[in-house]
Assembly symmetry: C3
Homo-oligomer: 138 residues x 3
C-alpha cells in the first residue's frame, strides 16, 4: 500500500532549520499502514532534509559548518550567469540532499529520542516549501 | 509491486556530472506502478547521486565545493597503500552517498521544476556506470 | 510485504567505522522477500550510514575529511550550553545522514564489488548502537 501526502511550511531562507517531525507523525497517525518506510522529500534545488537534535546550540553549530562548506561570500558561476545571488544555496542543497527515508513499525517512526527530522532552507529569500511524505508499507 | 530496472552511462570521471532524470522518467513511463518510491542507486564506491538545478554555473560551483571538501592534491592513505590515485574519489563518494529516493504520484516524479537527478562520477578515469532504478509502489 | 529487523553493534565513537554489510545480508537471506528496497537507518543524532570500500587506507582518509568538515577543536554552541563535548559529532551526523536505501534483486543487494555498507559513530564515547533494517518488497 502507498499513501501520498504533503504539507507546506513557510521559511525565511539562509539556513533556516525547521523541525518537521510532528507533521510527519501526524500523517502517520491518520492512516492504516503501520509498518513500512516513510520517504520525506523536498521538491526544489535550494533546500534539504536531514535529522538533528533540534536544540538551539546544535542548530547554530550546523549553520556554521554549512557556511564553511559553501560560504556565501565567495564567487559562484551561477550568480555570475543568472544574477540570482543564491549560488551558495544550490551547492549546499546538492551536498545535503533533498530526501530522507525512515522506517516505521507499529505506527512509530524509528527515530532516536533526541533525533528530529528537519527541513533546511538554503535559499536567499523567504519561501513557502512543499514537503512530500510518501509512505510505502502494509 | 516491485520493478527492478537499470541503465548504463559513460562518464569521464573527475566530478563528471550527468543529468539522469529523463532515464528514470522513461522507466516510470513504461510500467503500471503509478504511486510509490523510486530508489536510484549507483553500485561502486567512487560515484554518487543527488539532485541539482542542471545548469552550467551550478555544476561548476558544485565541482569547486567538492574539490574543497576532499582536494585532489593532498595525501591519501588509499593511494599510498594501493597506488590507485583515486583516494579523493572514494572520500567524495562516501560523503555524498550512492542513493536517492524520490516519491512519484500518478506516474510523475515529485521533483521541483528546476531540480534534476544527477550522477556524479568522482573516479580518476572514464567509467561505464550501471545505475539501478528500483521502484516500489502500486 | 514489509519486514522489520534490527541488530546491535558496539562502537568506540570518534569516527569509528563498522562494516555492517554482512549483518544486512544475513537478514535478507532468511526472508521470503526477494525483490525490493532495504532501508538501513541508525536511530540517534550522532551516527551516520553510508557506503565505502572498506579498506584501512580509505577509512583513514574519510576520517580526516570528516575532521576537516567539523573539527573537534573549534567552538560548538552545543557544548557551551550543555557541556556534552560532542557538538562536533552532532554536526557530522547531520551532514552525513542517518539513512541509506539499497535495492535488492533475487535476494542480492545491488552493491558494487568493493562497496560496503558502513555505520560511522561520531560520538565522543563508546556506544551500543541499534541499526534498523526495514525491507519493503515482494
Amino acid at each position: 500500500m502507498v499513501l501520498s501526502s504533503a504539507f507546506q511550511i513557510k521559511t525565511s531562507g539562509f539556513n533556516d532549520v525547521h523541525d518537521i517531525t510532528a507533521k510527519v507523525e501526524s500523517i502517520l497517525s491518520k492512516i492504516k499502514i503501520i509498518n513500512g518506510i516513510v520517504n520525506v522529500f523536498v521538491p526544489g534545488s535550494t533546500a534539504g532534509i536531514t535529522t538533528i537534535e533540534y536544540e538551539h546550540g546544535v542548530i547554530e553549530d550546523l549553520k556554521r559548518a554549512i557556511e564553511r562548506l559553501a560560504p556565501q561570500n565567495i564567487h559562484y558561476d551561477h550568480d555570475a550567469r543568472w544574477g540570482d545571488g543564491n549560488g551558495f544555496a544550490h551547492v549546499r542543497a546538492a551536498l545535503l540532499g533533498p530526501s530522507l527515508s525512515i522506517p516505521f513499525t507499529n505506527g512509530d517512526l524509528q527515530l532516536g529520542t533526541w533525533q528530529q527530522i528537519v527541513l533546511i532552507d538554503f535559499d536567499n529569500r523567504p519561501r513557502t516549501r512543499e514537503v512530500c511524505v510518501q509512505i510505502v508499507g502494509e
